[in-house]
Symmetry: C2
Subunit: 234 residues, 2 copies
């Protein structure tokens, strides 16, 4: 935000997730590698310690770099947090593509739910950072919620209404349907320890996620007046 931030922390974008594999010589490869290292470490520390509990020192240590290096690339802790969130918001919107007017309601909804559960299993830290951000009032995410997310939901609401008008599902309140789906699926990331305690395992097993997905798919399909059969949409 101020001009004191990161001497050269712009341009070139980072791409973040994949480390490509090849170029260890192209210009900017150091920046890309280190930013990715820091972002990964930051996601974990923010997820498990909360925003305020995450220290730049802890992030630096987890990334295997000196603290000053973290500030070199991201300037402030807040900017780093922002970058982590940015990464996560991308994931958020992706999977909704399956819900289109001409797809089969039951399989589209089931596939979406399964994708969300898989996501909870594979990237629980991302889900936790996001949950934390919401709980604390979405101070860094207001715009995303009011624009991107809201518009996307409005769009998908139209799909649900079209389905309903065509008699392909019973009418449902779209916002609440999505809320329930998100809540239920993300629960298996955010409340992992609670579910773990209930099933009597420290870590959830593949079986648990499968059963979770089945249960959610069943409730949602039936809730929309659709027939449910195990495994649909997988």
């Amino acid at each position: 935000m101020s001009e004191t931030v990161a001497k050269g922390a712009d341009a070139k974008e980072n791409g973040a997730k994949d480390s490509g594999g090849k170029d260890d010589s192209s210009p900017g490869h150091i920046r890309i590698k280190n930013r990715a290292l820091i972002l990964t470490a930051a996601e974990e520390v923010f997820a498990t310690q909360g925003y305020r509990g995450a220290t730049t020192a802890a992030i630096a240590q987890k990334a295997g770099l000196p603290k000053a290096n973290v500030h070199y690339y991201f300037g402030t802790k807040e900017a780093l947090y922002h970058a982590v969130l940015e990464d996560i918001l991308g994931l958020w919107l992706g999977e909704l593509d399956r819900i289109t007017e001409d797809s089969e309601p039951a399989t589209a909804l089931a596939a979406y739910i399964r994708a969300k559960v898989r996501h909870s299993r594979e990237r629980p830290l991302a889900s936790k950072v996001y949950a934390n951000e919401m709980i604390r009032g979405a101070r860094h995410t207001r715009d995303f919620l009011k624009n991107e997310l809201r518009n996307l939901v409005k769009e998908k609401a139209k799909v649900l209404e079209a389905w309903a008008k065509a008699g392909r599902i019973e009418p449902v309140e779209p916002i609440h349907l999505f809320s329930v789906i998100w809540a239920a699926t993300q629960h298996y990331a955010d409340f992992e320890v609670q579910v773990g305690a209930l099933v009597g395992r420290r870590q959830l097993a593949a079986k648990d996620y499968d059963e979770a997905a089945e249960t959610v798919v069943r409730l949602v399909l039936r809730g929309c007046g659709l027939p449910y059969q195990p495994g649909i949409g997988s």
Copy 2:
């Protein structure tokens, strides 16, 4: 935990919620009043700032007391956090009483869900503190999860199985059914701002909570193979 904690912070229990109304003269009324003040303030600060982000100074200010006073009554920040959680865990277990073998499945489940939604509306801060605690790994709540909560769920699982055996509902995975119910209902407290952004209101209205409850009740009842009609269990 250590012996340095709160010089006289034991005995007499606090009762917390109600301020009775009458006795401004009975012994210990100061302790009761101030502990309640601090607990309320602490719940809000822990909910909105997270554990680490909550400062004893902020809690003291919100309670209208000097910081040293907070330490006088609760010793350490951790002990205070513990006390706040204790208060909240009580709420957690209460409402499940409705689920008994000889109650009517549809109305019992519906009433439970409605109670949870009401709870999300009336005490969102409690829900947020709890969610935060889960996300961060339930370090202060492990025992509760593995004992009280797990046993209660096991008990209620038997009820669901009995219902199923008697043909009163379709068989369901109890842990996942409860997980979905909890996730969906608490979502309206924890992710309040997200739902708010989607419905286009800063604060959720009565209508929103009602629709939310209807939606969840509908999905859950149908998911259990039960007929749903608006307003059931309210």
